[in-house]
Amino acid sequence: MVLGGDEPTGSLVRPYAVTRGRTRPQLEIALEALVETTARGRAGQFLGGREQKVIVDLCGGRLQSLAEIAARMEVPLGVARVLVADMAADGLLAVHEPTGFSDDPGADESVGTELLERVLSGLRRL
C-alpha cells in the first residue's frame, strides 16, 4: 500500500468523492497505458491534493500502468482513470499509450510485428 493504512474504514478514499462524482475521464486511457511523472509534476507546487501527490510519487520512479496506479491506491479503475486524465491535462503526468494489436485491416501491421518480435525475444530471455 502506498498510503498509511491507519484509516478506520480501511478504504483510502470514497470512490468518486475525489473525482467530484465524475465518471467520464477527459481522455480514454487504456488499462496498460504507462504513466510517468513530468518535471512539472515533480516540482510539487502545482499539485492539487493528496491523491495527486500520491500519483506523482508512484510514477516518479519506474513507470506504472493505469491498472497499477488503481491497484496500489486501492481505488476503482474508473477513479484512477479520471485522476490521471486530469493530471495529464495539467501537464503533471505523461501518458504513454500501449501499442494495440487490433486486426483492423487498415492498421499499420509492421509496427505491431516489430513489437511482437521484441516481446518474443524478451520472453525467451526470461
Binding site: 467530484r20 467520464r24 487504456a30 504507462l34 491498472a67 491497484a71 479503475l77 486486426d103 511482437l116
Partner: protein, 195 residues
C-alpha cells in the same frame, strides 16, 4: 538507442489469461510476473451513461469486478502486462476493455471441467482475438490425449493446444512464447495471402 531519459518511445502490451473459475489464472500470472499479482476493481454503474460531468453519481445499482494482473519488463521501454480475467464470464463489460488491443489470450482449462471455458472460447472467436489453449495439469499427470481435448472443445487444428503447469515459471514462459509465435505466424500468413 534510447538514452534512459528519453521515454518518448515507451510503450506497453498485454496478454489476457482467461478460463473458468479456479482454473489457475492467478497462479499462472504469479509464476512469471516480476511483481506480486495486483488486483484492481472496476465498478459499473447502470447510471454511468449520460451522467453530466458535474453531477454526483446517484446511488444506482453497481457491479464490482476484480481482475488481477502481473508485469514483465521486456526492455526499459517495453512492458508486458498479463491480465487475468474475472472468474465469472457474466461480466462481459470488463472483457471488452481487457481484450482491446491485446496481443492474444491464453485459455486455461481443467480437464475435469472442460465446459467451463466454452463461453470464453466463443468470446475470443467472436472478437477474432488469437488464443491458445493450455491444459493445466492439476493431477500432475498428462492423462488425456490432446486430440480428445481438442475435439471436446471443438477448436480448430490451427489453435495451439498444450499442457502446462501454472505454478511453474518455465512452463508458463513456454506458453507465452507459443502464443506470441502463433500471433506472428498468423500475421505472416495473412501478409502472404494478400500479396
Amino acid at each position: 538507442m534510447n538514452s534512459p531519459a528519453d521515454t518518448s518511445r515507451v510503450t506497453s502490451a498485454k496478454i489476457v489469461i482467461a478460463g473458468g473459475f479456479g482454473v489457475g489464472k492467478t497462479t499462472l500470472v504469479g509464476s512469471v510476473s516480476e511483481i506480486t499479482p495486483l488486483t484492481t476493481e472496476a465498478i459499473m454503474t447502470s447510471a454511468s451513461e449520460g451522467v453530466d460531468d458535474n453531477n454526483l453519481v446517484p446511488d444506482k445499482a453497481t457491479t464490482t469486478v476484480a481482475m488481477d494482473f502481473g508485469r514483465i519488463t521486456i526492455d526499459q521501454d517495453l512492458i508486458l502486462y498479463l491480465f487475468g480475467t474475472p472468474g465469472q464470464t457474466r461480466f462481459w463489460f470488463m472483457w471488452d476493455e481487457l481484450v482491446r488491443g491485446a496481443i492474444g489470450a491464453i485459455v486455461l482449462v481443467d480437464t475435469r471441467r472442460l465446459a467451463d471455458c466454452f463461453s470464453v472460447i466463443d468470446f475470443f472467436e467472436h472478437r477474432k482475438l488469437p488464443y491458445l489453449v493450455a491444459v493445466n495439469c492439476f493431477d500432475g499427470k498428462q492423462m488425456h490425449d490432446l486430440q480428445d481435448i481438442r475435439d471436446a472443445l471443438q477448436v480448430s487444428q490451427d489453435v495451439p493446444l498444450m499442457y502446462t503447469d501454472a505454478r511453474n515459471r518455465e512452463s508458463t514462459k513456454q506458453v507465452l512464447i507459443k502464443l506470441v509465435e502463433y500471433v506472428l505466424s498468423m500475421r505472416r500468413t495473412r501478409t502472404v495471402g494478400v500479396g
